[in-house]
């Protein structure tokens, strides 16, 4: 049946519908949660379980089709393009939050502090005349509404360490890829294992850092725009690292099961790309959130 000339168009599949329903349920659960509905957790749980079910089922189908040789080179290219543009959309998602950070630092805080021409002088004079612009913003324009914090996380502590960890993991995943291409399964598993480990160590340190920030430094989501941008950027990034690490783990398990071949290992590459993307975003975070 399998023909390398014919583009593989799968016959009907239930996963898309299951996936839509699963997400639907999850979103309903989320909405209920925010409205303090006592049943929210159950709905969320059902939704999340359905999402996992969908992913497992869907990917299983894909893996089976792939291993049974139904995919031509062209199908492979489609997957690659899909993954590439998906990552690009993720980049744009982060861009929104970086945008918020830049806007606050370059415009809103200076304006509140009395800089800028035109009306924004009035802003300081009539509304916030005791406010002093600074970054990190530790004294908010209206301090009474926000949690004050003691200090910010210095760049050259855990963040620098985490940078090193992620950069190293970028190297190890590449080494794993080389090993895979060279057909050296032992090395592949070793390097991949190291990558996964580095990923989870990163997450561990990130959690530590959050604990430190919340408990010792008193930085919360409620700490004005600094806390807001800090947690949103690092939080979404941390979430992506976690997802990436889990995906790497799945790939590692698949390697152990002997799944990929020298030539044919798109899933591996897709996750590796994702990992690099997470890595690059972190560099942006390290520079703009922690460092300068």
């Amino acid at each position: 049946m399998a023909s390398k000339d014919i583009y593989y168009v799968p016959h009907s599949s239930k996963w898309p519908l299951v996936g839509s329903l699963a997400l639907f349920t999850t979103f309903i659960g989320g909405g209920m949660l925010f409205n303090d509905n006592p049943n929210a957790n159950y709905v969320l749980l059902i939704g999340a379980a359905a999402v996992v079910y969908m992913f497992v089922g869907w990917f299983n189908d894909v893996i089976n089709e792939s291993t049974s040789g139904k995919y031509s080179k062209q199908v492979d290219t489609s997957f690659r393009m899909g993954m590439g543009w998906f990552i690009f959309s993720e980049v744009m998602f982060f861009a929104a939050f970086f945008g918020a950070l830049f806007y606050a630092r370059m415009f809103s805080i200076p304006w509140l502090g009395g800089e800028g021409h035109g009306g924004h002088n009035g802003t300081h004079q009539f509304l916030w005349d005791s406010f002093q612009a600074s970054w990190p913003l530790s004294v908010m324009p209206d301090p009474s509404k926000f949690t004050e914090y003691k200090d910010v996380i210095p760049a050259w502590g855990i963040p620098a360490l985490n940078t090193a960890l992620l950069l190293a993991s970028g190297v190890t995943v590449t080494l794993a890829h080389w090993a895979l291409k060279a057909g050296n399964r032992q090395k592949l598993v070793l390097w991949l294992f190291l990558t996964v480990a580095l990923g989870f160590i990163f997450v561990y340190f990130q959690v530590e850092e959050y604990a430190h920030a919340m408990n010792d430094l008193n930085i919360t989501l409620n700490s004005g725009i600094y806390g807001s941008t800090f947690y949103m950027l690092t939080g979404f990034h941390g979430f992506h690292v976690t997802m990436g690490a889990v995906m790497l783990l799945v790939i590692l398990l698949r390697c152990l099961k002997g799944h990929f071949t020298k030539k044919d290992h798109f899933a591996f590459e897709a996750v590796a790309w994702y990992w690099h993307f997470v890595d690059v975003v972190w560099l942006g975070l390290f520079i703009f959130v922690y460092w300068i």
């Binding site: 168009v9 543009w85 744009m92 606050a104 509304l127 409620n222 807001s228 949103m232």
Partner: protein, 527 residues
């Protein structure tokens, strides 16, 4: 012609065919039916708006409900009607136009469709929640939107959900176009409809995640105490507007570019003459897309930006008239010395060119910052965007439906009824929206349920036009259903002057086409 299609053509039957589908034509059909349904739902809300505005004083709804009608009308029309209709056409036609067996990622294709009904269920359900539906306008500006009741998280999640669908759809289109073209078809030989959709897809992938980010910040501002949009914590309500419109302006071209593509197919077909300036059409589309990312703040001239910012955004906005003009002139030159006939698709296409241009002209006027200080947030703006959206995007979609219906159903639609539909729609739409220019200039703000009596007459006229336009669309549904059920058999090449690969497969297009890549002839590649 059947060499290009397989005879062992069997479509799975029953419910499963539709809900588990991986077939681009079936999914395209689902999209189109869904979009039409949503057009009626959003249109029904518009009818409530117009009924309330028929006379001064409040007759039917309270102001809060009015506001949520305006908000949900816009969200449904944009995300539920025009975008899905465009994606539906892309699904149906792109594989046929480039000689591909299907979309590149067929399963994902089905998921991007199935998200829509659930996403809109989520959105529409908010109207029945405590505190009512979202009522801060489709632009969702904080702090007002943060006053939404229980509907709030559902609104945000609905937007996330629909965004996921659009991004998946866009990825699929890009992969299809770049990976699935029949051998021998270069990028610069693709029909313009395909080009406009590729470029639209880039806009989608770049713009929608930003919207997702923006509404996520709304969510955390409301529930987690962040202060992105709160000056007291160092944020700025206007920051939301910047992020929103960074998405929002490209979004309006997401609605417009596929329409340009449709028109670029239809006009050459009925002029029996190749499209004028193919290459410049592609470049103009690309320029519009790129420019669309640097003009966003023209929606916010009145927020008090620094002078330099206002000037920059004013110049960039005005600049968009140039590539758009190129497109209009190219259509004009395509008609020039053609041998035109005026079937319904062509009529809608010509009306599009004129009425969209009128909308573009008012757009240019809005783009002049110092004058926009007067126009902004008045019915002048409402008139502008309905000209580009309704008599623009929607008219183009109507044109497309008439143009390709024979290919989809295998039958010709009733031409006479089609023409009646066209004339009634065109007259009604102008009665509906032209007077709104006057209302806006005379000083009627938008998003108000009740108004001073000086605006009474034009509002009444506009409402009459609105009801007439709405009723006329029932005729459209009748025509489409009638055509699906039977009629004069359509030829494979349903229109004498039609160009493109889709006319080389049978009408109706069989369930599977181009399972093996077609051998392209020179004739097939003609524009």
């Amino acid at each position: 012609m059947s060499t290009l299609a397989h005879d062992h053509d069997h479509a799975p039957s029953g419910l499963k065919r539709w809900i588990y589908s991986t077939n681009h034509k079936d999914i395209g059909t689902l999209y189109l039916i869904f979009a039409l349904t949503m057009f009626f739902v959003g249109g029904a809300m518009a009818m409530i708006i117009r009924a309330e505005l028929f006379q001064p004083g409040l007759q039917f709804v309270d102001p809060q409900f009015y506001n949520s009608m305006v908000t949900v009308h816009a969200l449904i029309m944009i995300f539920g009607a025009v975008m899905p209709a465009g994606v539906g056409l892309a699904n149906w036609m792109i594989p046929l136009m480039i000689g591909a067996p299907d979309m590149a990622l067929p399963r994902m294709n089905n998921m991007s469709f199935w998200i829509l009904p659930f996403g809109f269920a989520l959105l529409i359900s908010t109207l029945f929640m405590e505190g009512g539906g979202p009522a801060g306008g489709w632009t969702m500006y904080p702090p007002l939107v943060l006053q939404t009741g229980d509907a709030f998280p559902f609104l945000i999640f609905a937007i996330h959900f629909l965004g996921i669908s659009s991004i998946m759809g866009a990825i699929n289109i890009i992969a299809t176009v770049f990976n699935m073209r029949a051998p021998g078809m270069s990028l610069m030989q693709m029909p313009l409809f395909v080009w406009t959709w590729v470029i639209t897809s880039f806009l989608l992938i770049a713009a929608l995640p930003v919207l997702a980010g923006a509404v996520t910040m709304l969510l955390t501002d409301k529930y987690f105490g962040t202060s992105f949009f709160d000056a007291a914590g160092g944020g700025d309500p206007v920051m939301f507007q910047h992020i929103f419109w960074f998405f929002g302006h490209p979004e309006v071209y997401i609605l417009a570019l596929p329409a340009f593509g449709i028109i670029s197919q239809v006009i050459p077909a009925f002029s029996r003459k190749p499209l004028f300036g193919y290459a410049s059409m592609v470049y103009a589309t690309a320029s519009i897309a790129i420019l669309s990312f640097v003009v966003w703040a023209h929606h916010m001239f009145t927020v008090g930006m620094p002078l330099k910012g206002e000037l920059f955004f004013m110049y960039a906005t005005m600049l968009i008239a140039v590539p758009t003009g190129v497109k209009v002139f190219n259509w004009m030159a395509t008609m020039w010395r053609g041998a035109m006939t005026f079937e319904t698709p062509m009529l809608f296409a010509i009306a599009f060119v004129i009425l969209f241009t009128i909308g573009g002209f008012s757009g240019l006027m809005l783009g002049m910052a110092p004058v926009d200080f007067q126009y902004h947030d008045t019915y002048f703006v409402v008139a502008h965007f309905h000209y580009v959206l309704l008599t623009g995007a929607v008219f183009a979609l109507m044109s497309a439906v008439y143009y390709w219906l024979p290919k989809w159903t295998g039958y010709m639609y009733d031409e006479k009824l089609g023409k009646i539909h066209f004339w009634l729609s065109t007259i009604a739409a102008n009665v509906l929206f032209f007077p709104q220019h006057f209302l806006g200039l005379a000083g009627m703000p938008r998003r108000i349920p009740d108004y001073n009596i000086q605006f009474a007459d034009f509002n009444m006229i506009s409402s009459i036009g609105g009801f007439a336009y709405g009723l006329t669309q029932l005729l459209f549904v009748y025509i489409v259903i009638k055509c699906a059920l039977g009629g004069k058999k359509a030829k494979d090449k349903a229109w004498e002057g039609a160009r493109g690969l889709e006319w080389y497969v049978p009408s109706p297009a069989p369930h599977h086409t181009f399972e093996t890549p077609p051998k392209l002839t020179k004739q097939m590649l003609e524009m």
